[in-house]
Structures are given as structure tokens and as C-alpha cells.
């Protein structure tokens, strides 16, 4: 009984080791509690969420109907036809997106009189398996389009003078992103 638990002076190094371990565990607990609001980078979904947010941010940035710059969505798509490539918009997209991300830009529109959905491929690169898409809807009026624009709405199908110049054409600008 001389070596009772309270009187025993042996094993002090073990006690210290235990205390140090407990403090370390508490520090790790504290760190983990404060990191729960961060999207865990352990899953593919979080990576997709970041990529989608990046795409949405870039499209929001380029959606500026009041600007006269040729790289806004409105101006670039209004002047688009079979022969005019939107270099300003594409260059800005290349600058805005990181080098390790590639993309395709599509424009989807609905023809009211034909009751048909169309997709115009501004860029048409080869996809990888894991892609994320971000969409932005814009309105461009008929009067803003060039006369041979694919988006121009000619309800009567007749002469250019008969086209309703204030007809609001809704375009879905779809940015498909993937990591390379």
C-alpha cells in the first residue's frame, strides 16, 4: 500500500506525455471547428462548385448592356454572324479565366414563331468528361443585331423593313468549363 496511486512518484513522463497529447488534441479540435464553414476540398463536387462560381462571375462581369465595348455579351453577340468572330469577347474570356481552365461558349435561343430551340456554337472544342456549365440570360433587341445575325427574329419571314426592331430576343449564354 506504500505505492498507492496518489503517493506513487513513478511514471511522471507518461503523465506529461498525456497532458501534451491532450493539449494537441484540443488544438486540432479548435482548428477543425473553425474550418467547417469552408467547403471541404476533399470532394470533386466542391471543385465543380468553385468552377461554376468562376463561370458565373465571368458571365456577370461581361453582361453590361450599357457599355459600348465590343467584348460585352450584348455587343459581341449583336455583331455576330457567319463571318464575324467575336474576338473581343473570346480574348476577354481567355484573360479572365485561369490557364488551367478551358471552355466552350454556346448561345441558346428560342424562335417563337417556329416553336424551336436553337444552339449556336461560338467555340467548339473537344470536351473532357468532367465539365461544369454556367448560364447567363440576356436580352438583345432586334435593332441591335446585324442584318444576317443568326439571332435576328423575323416573324413575318419577309423583308428586313418589316422586322419588329424592338422585339426582345432572349439569349442564354452558356459557358461550359473544364479543367485541363
Amino acid at each position: 500500500m506504500q505505492n498507492s496511486l496518489l503517493r506513487c512518484g513513478k511514471g511522471q513522463a507518461f503523465t506529461l506525455e498525456g497532458i501534451v497529447a491532450a493539449v494537441m488534441m484540443l488544438m486540432v479540435t479548435y482548428f477543425l471547428f473553425h474550418s467547417t464553414i469552408i467547403i471541404s476540398p476533399l470532394t470533386g463536387e466542391s471543385s465543380d462548385a468553385q468552377l461554376k462560381q468562376l463561370g458565373l462571375d465571368v458571365l456577370t462581369l461581361l453582361d453590361n448592356p450599357d457599355s459600348e465595348s465590343n467584348d460585352t455579351l450584348q455587343n459581341a453577340l449583336a455583331s455576330l454572324n457567319e463571318t464575324t468572330y467575336p474576338y473581343g469577347l473570346i480574348n476577354t474570356l481567355n484573360d479572365a479565366l485561369p490557364d488551367n481552365i478551358d471552355y466552350n461558349l454556346n448561345v441558346i435561343y428560342y424562335n417563337v414563331s417556329e416553336d424551336e430551340m436553337y444552339t449556336y456554337h461560338v467555340t467548339n472544342k473537344a470536351y473532357t468528361q468532367d465539365t461544369v456549365s454556367a448560364s447567363r440570360y440576356i436580352v438583345v433587341r432586334n435593332s441591335a443585331f446585324v442584318h444576317d445575325s443568326p439571332f435576328l427574329f423575323n416573324e413575318s419571314g419577309g423583308l428586313e423593313s418589316s422586322i419588329d426592331s424592338e422585339f426582345p430576343v432572349v439569349l442564354e449564354v452558356k459557358l461550359i468549363l473544364w479543367r485541363v
Binding site: 491532450a22 470532394t43 430551340m117 448560364s135 424592338e166
Partner: protein, 147 residues
């Protein structure tokens, strides 16, 4: 002689009778509990990350903001610049929006009512109802727009 007997007795004692090293056992238990707690926290951390990412991918916050700003800006423009074609253009806008959102599995529509006119045939105000619905969110707004 008595000390020798005691030593021999201690050496021959079974595992259950041996009462030395209790602090080590206690610390081992404490550390085991802490490790279990940490495992739980780690699992919760991964779960929270997955949930946040999933919510961010599926919640249509941007679609609703985009729809609302697009509709109100365009209707305001049409009311000021084309009051005579206003109703037709609202219908055209609604048809296109419905079709484009439907292609993504969502429903969106625009409706205008209570259009008030001035004596000089200009629109002075109107009500707009914007509806957005998908499997995650149902959104509806009614606003009075003054020109």
C-alpha cells in the same frame, strides 16, 4: 526473507491482480475518447463540405437574380419606348423565358397586369409577377413598377 517473499508474490501475480501502471491506462482511455471525438468531427467536416458544395451547385440564386433584373429592365424599357407594343412584347418575352428555363428543368414566367396609362397614351405604371420554380426552390414576386 519477508521482502523476498513479497517480491516473489508480486512477480507471480496475475494480470488482474497487478495494480501498477494505472495512470497509463487512464491516459490511454482519455486519448481513445479524444480520437473518437476527432473522428466524429472529421466526418462532420467532410459532410458539411459535401452539403455546401451540393447546395452551391443546385441552389438557383443566380438564375433568380438574373431573371428578375432581366425582366424588370426590359419591361421598363418597353413601357417607355414602345407603349403600344408593350403587351405583345411581354408575351414574346414570357414565351422565350418559359422555353429557355424549361430546357433546364425549371419553370419561369412573366406576367404583367394593372397597366395604367396617362392621358397622352404613355404607360405610367404596371404590376409584374415573376415566377420561378424548380425541384429545389419556389419563387414568386409581385412588384409595382413606376415609370
Amino acid at each position: 526473507m519477508a521482502g523476498l517473499k513479497k517480491g516473489l508474490k508480486k512477480r507471480n501475480s496475475t494480470l488482474i491482480e497487478n495494480d501498477s501502471g494505472q495512470m497509463i491506462i487512464i491516459l490511454a482511455v482519455i486519448i481513445s475518447v479524444l480520437l473518437a471525438s476527432l473522428s466524429l468531427l472529421y466526418a462532420q467536416n467532410i459532410l458539411a463540405g459535401n452539403e455546401s458544395a451540393y447546395t452551391q451547385l443546385t441552389f438557383p440564386k443566380h438564375e433568380i437574380q438574373n431573371l428578375r433584373s432581366l425582366v424588370i429592365d426590359e419591361l421598363r424599357y418597353q413601357a417607355i419606348n414602345n407603349p403600344n407594343s408593350f403587351t405583345d412584347h411581354v408575351t414574346d418575352l414570357d414565351e422565350q423565358i418559359e422555353a429557355l428555363y424549361a430546357s433546364h428543368g425549371s419553370y419561369a414566367s412573366v406576367d404583367v397586369y394593372n397597366v395604367t396609362w396617362s392621358a397622352s397614351d404613355t404607360i405610367t405604371s404596371f404590376n409584374v409577377k415573376i415566377v420561378f420554380s424548380n425541384p429545389v426552390v419556389d419563387y414568386e414576386s409581385n412588384e409595382r413598377i413606376l415609370i
